[in-house]
Symmetry: C2
Subunit: 282 residues, 2 copies
């Protein structure tokens, strides 16, 4: 496995791979890898000849007062994990390699996909995500790119972006990986104090309850949303950012549980903002 | 020469060319080709193995009340011209092939490059340009893309966009081609009534005067701007949209004539908006 830090170097390698008609898979990450990321890398490794994992804590997708500075980083550990999971190349550029001085161009999206859920509480977040993903797509030119369903809105936005801007790249999504007790894996879980870690279980427990309610026949999406809010709010350390039951493709709120249903929540546990979701076909 | 109307088809052909390690040049146009376009196609033909000319009157770069509906179109004539100039493929998609229903992603730019000159009088214009050029870049994946210096701001914006978003594409610019009497070639010249055609000469005549003044040693950029404005305004049929003396890279107004100097004007002659410019290294 190779560690590459410049665009020029990775372009050269990928070009050579491409000339051998090899398929290239990209797994974009912010590092501090957990089992969720590793499941993406393993999947990419099964489906491609050459797997690039990008590790880049992207400043432009963090808002004022968010955790850009404190976001956990450990390249040495990440490298070991990538190697084991089957990555061929780790692309870990510095910020000034990634963004030239005076960078001004960006990718953004009108319509409803980005101004709801995380987009509503993190203005500019998806602009930052789309811009850096566009850059990574242009640098690596993968055949396939892998994203975790945990960031459900991100998957919907990137899929739409890839279609709208004609990226010839297959967007592959993979399921959320959870701790044994149900907590969705996240690099940000490392922020949680023991008491908060325990309190955070209210999120997955509530989503599991909601899934069961739907499987038991509940059709009233508004009621489910209310119940989710109520159950999560009962945990003293939890403060809901949003809790929504939406169409998984349009992200528009549902009145009735039907089609591709996404139950998505963002919850602050202490100072840590966690997201989680469950997607169901009804 | 082939005429291609769908993204799928052109991708297939380009992929095959690429596997033969051929260099691909793209000349993006809105059709109704004149000698300016043809000079780009010929240049592309000399420098690449496979030349794609795109012909697409892009609705998203026209503002409310602009000439999208009346913009001249003649695919049959354009095809003949492309063939003669050495194009291999003409890519001429319909609007609904180019933009999927519900298209929402776009490319835009902060900073000063797009809010001055044509960007100031045509809000949203460069967003439309950048978005469609990104799409064409992603569809054709050229090694080089060719743009005319007549749209000087467009060249500056596309160069910056290509750099900022890491398109691995060389942006090649080529000089303005003029009629014998000096008028810069433009598909919009076809709108001009005979009297207006004559009046339009004030634009190039004035720019030539300004170039001479600089070559004669004039250093005061503000004075040159004033003189340009005065001279063009002396023509009764001319109404100035802007007349600026700016740095050719940053497009910021200059006080002193120094470095890469761009003298750029937009002038309405009757109902037709014409642009022209001269770039000088001082």
């Amino acid at each position: 496995m190779k560690l590459i830090k410049t665009k020029g170097q990775i372009r050269k390698i990928i070009r050579a791979e491409r000339q051998k008609l090899k398929k290239v898979g990209l797994v974009p990450t912010m590092g501090y890898l957990h089992e969720g990321h590793l499941s993406l890398i393993r999947k990419a490794s099964r489906e491609n000849d050459c797997v690039v994992v990008s590790i880049f804590v992207n400043p432009t997708q963090f808002g004022e007062g968010e955790d850009y500075d404190t976001y956990p980083r450990d390249l040495t550990r990440d490298m070991e994990q990538c190697e084991k999971a089957g990555a061929d190349i780790v692309f870990a550029p510095e910020v000034d390699e990634m963004y030239a001085a005076g960078s001004a161009a960006f990718v953004d999206m009108g319509g409803g996909l980005t101004d709801t859920l995380c987009g509503a509480s993190r203005p500019g977040h998806f602009r930052g995500v789309m811009t850096v993903v566009t850059k990574l797509f242009n640098i690596v030119r993968p055949d396939r790119a892998y994203f975790g369903q945990k960031d459900a809105q991100q998957v919907a936005v990137i899929k739409r972006m890839a279609r709208d801007l004609d990226f010839d790249i297959q967007i592959v999504e993979a399921p959320i990986v959870r701790e044994k007790d149900g907590l969705a894996m996240s690099s940000r879980n490392t922020y949680l104090l023991p008491e908060e870690r325990q309190a955070a279980l209210v999120i997955s427990r509530t989503l599991f309850w909601a899934r069961q309610a739907i499987m038991d026949g509940e059709k009233n999406a508004v009621l489910i949303k209310e119940k989710i809010t109520e159950k999560i709010s009962s945990e003293q350390l939890a403060c809901i950012d949003y809790a929504e039951v939406v169409d998984a493709n349009t992200l528009k709120p549902l009145k009735e549980v039907r089609g591709s249903v996404l139950m998505a929540v963002a919850v602050k546990i202490g100072r840590t903002r966690l997201i989680d979701n469950i997607k169901l076909e009804v």
